[in-house]
């Protein structure tokens, strides 16, 4: 097997490991739109990285965290419906990113790669970044699992039982920003949320506990990466969209199963 395909597979599997449990929380907390808006801001991070001549992984993570804070503050204050507000923020961030990138003439930016991912171009450094990010994310998630689940089920009840609800929400949004930054290279700005939501949704019908849903989602995500990459190499299709299509196929397959409760 080609080296670049092996590297791509390792990157995809690393991402799937953290995207599974985090994506499950995105589904439970109905935050798919939030995650998507967050991902749209990542392009601004790319532009910032080029302008400041800093590692783009870092600027993407930084911009995502800042944008997450802005979104959270706006959502708690604004009178607009959340989906309208998120939509406005997402498109503003995306357009700002595109405009900012157009100012950078010295670097030729492969826009398609940032929008839709270029998993076949990941190098050893990227793999280290992805697995490192996934490991940190998984450890944090493991430590916060019960309080985070409790806040997800009912925030007031969790608060009366002594959970710091604000801290849990913040931690979750930071984890989301981390995963967006990590996933950026693989599936791109526009497809990041797909890799979180689709495997989790596919896992729902197989799972009987929150933990099993998270684990199955990771497995489905990893399988989607492998299947998408193989077909991408076979049929010479773009890698990011191929991975997402594979995840969509797994989701469709899961619909055949009865809803297990």
């Amino acid at each position: 097997m080609d080296d670049f395909l092996v590297r791509a597979g390792m990157a995809g599997i690393g991402l799937a490991l953290i995207a599974g449990p985090l994506g499950s929380f995105v589904v439970w907390r109905r935050m798919a739109f939030f995650g998507d808006a967050l991902a749209h801001s990542a392009l601004l991070g790319v532009a910032l990285g080029f302008l400041l001549r800093v590692e783009t992984n870092l600027t993407i993570a930084g911009i995502c965290v800042a944008f997450a804070a802005v979104l959270t503050a706006l959502l708690s204050r604004a009178r607009l419906a959340p989906d309208t507000l998120l939509s406005i923020c997402a498109f503003t961030a995306l357009s700002a990113g595109l405009v900012a990138l157009s100012f950078i003439e010295t670097v030729r930016v492969d826009l398609m790669a940032y929008l839709f991912g270029d998993i076949l171009a990941v190098g050893p450094a990227d793999i280290a970044w992805i697995w490192g990010g996934a490991a940190v994310g998984l450890v944090v998630l493991k430590l916060l699992w019960r309080p985070l689940l409790s806040v997800t089920v009912h925030a007031d009840l969790a608060a009366v039982e002594g959970v710091n609800v604000g801290a849990m929400r913040l931690a979750f949004v930071l984890l989301l920003a981390l995963v967006v930054a990590v996933a950026m290279k693989i599936v791109g700005v526009l497809l990041v949320t797909a890799l979180m939501v689709m495997p989790a949704a596919a896992a729902r019908r197989l799972a009987r506990s929150p933990e099993s849903m998270a684990a199955i989602a990771s497995a489905v995500g990893a399988l989607s990466c492998v299947a998408g990459l193989v077909s991408s190499a076979e049929f010479d299709t773009p890698s990011g969209p191929s991975v997402v299509l594979a995840a969509a196929a797994f989701f469709a397959l899961s619909l055949v199963l009865p809803l297990r409760r």
Partner: protein, 261 residues
């Protein structure tokens, strides 16, 4: 009584923008006492509960809790997302670090032990409320705070649920604060009733409340009569009252010309 109160709210004021939801409300709950908070929809009952529980900051007044007070909370009826696979045992276990045996014991106490391994989404209204009560009891609370516990429960189930609350109080000696807009069932089991409509309209023993002009003004004269009847029919299940002088008062407000939210 205030010295021995579990919780004591003094002159609590809460405004949402220009609307005063709570206008100098006094409330206290003593150990072993069942206090019922009644009032029409939008009277500020839930807001007052949330302030007492520390979930919301008042704009004026003070809340004093007994040192180290452990509160058990049963929030208003809510639904758990179908996408979250969650069994009763896991839901109850979110209360903290508890063993399976402790969870089982709590479920036995509220008579839903047979549902321990079933998904929460499949529970009936009455079963879910009992499961919520079990989760509150796991914390060995000195104060139980119940927000509309009979919501979504059929009439026979409501009666049984209130009997259960009374039994729990007798067994554990905890103070109970119940919010309701349903007059009859709740008041029949209360030691003290607070009638809230932005401010405390009247308070005292249930049978006295039924005769209070402020109560009649708020709920209609017939409500007072039927309340007295209900008390009468149920007198056999309650201890004879001790001839204690009722604490009740009436601010001579004109309710009709007064903005109650």
């Amino acid at each position: 009584m205030s010295a021995s109160s579990l919780i004591l709210g003094r002159s609590i004021v809460k405004r949402f923008e220009d609307r005063t939801v709570l206008d100098h409300v006094d409330i206290s709950v003593a150990p072993g006492e069942i206090v019922t908070l009644i009032g029409p929809n939008g009277a500020g009952k839930t807001v007052l509960l949330r302030i007492l529980l520390g979930l919301l900051k008042p704009d004026g007044g003070t809340v004093a809790r007994k040192a180290g007070l452990v509160a058990g909370y049963m929030p208003q009826k809510f639904a758990i997302d179908d996408n979250l696979p969650l069994r009763v045992s896991r839901f109850v276990g979110l209360a903290g670090r508890v063993t399976r045996a402790e969870i089982e014991a709590a479920l036995v106490e509220v008579d839903v032990a047979g549902r321990i391994d079933d998904p929460v989404q499949g529970l009936s209204g009455g079963e879910f409320q009992r499961v919520l009560l079990a989760r509150a009891l796991l914390r060995k609370p000195q104060l139980l705070v119940l927000d509309e516990p009979a919501q979504g429960v059929d009439v026979i189930g409501q009666d049984a649920l209130y009997d259960l609350v009374g039994a729990v109080r007798d067994r554990h000696g905890c103070g109970v604060l119940i919010v309701s807009h349903d007059l009859h069932l709740v008041m029949a089991r209360a030691d003290r009733v607070l009638c809230l409509n932005g401010h405390v309209c009247c308070s005292g023993r249930p049978e006295a409340i039924g005769r209070d002009p402020a109560f009649a003004e708020l709920f209609g004269a017939r409500a007072g009569e039927s309340l007295a009847l209900y008390r009468h029919r149920h007198d056999h299940v309650h201890d004879p009252h001790d001839g204690h002088v009722h604490h009740h008062h009436h601010h001579g407000h004109d309710h009709a010309g007064h903005d109650h939210g």
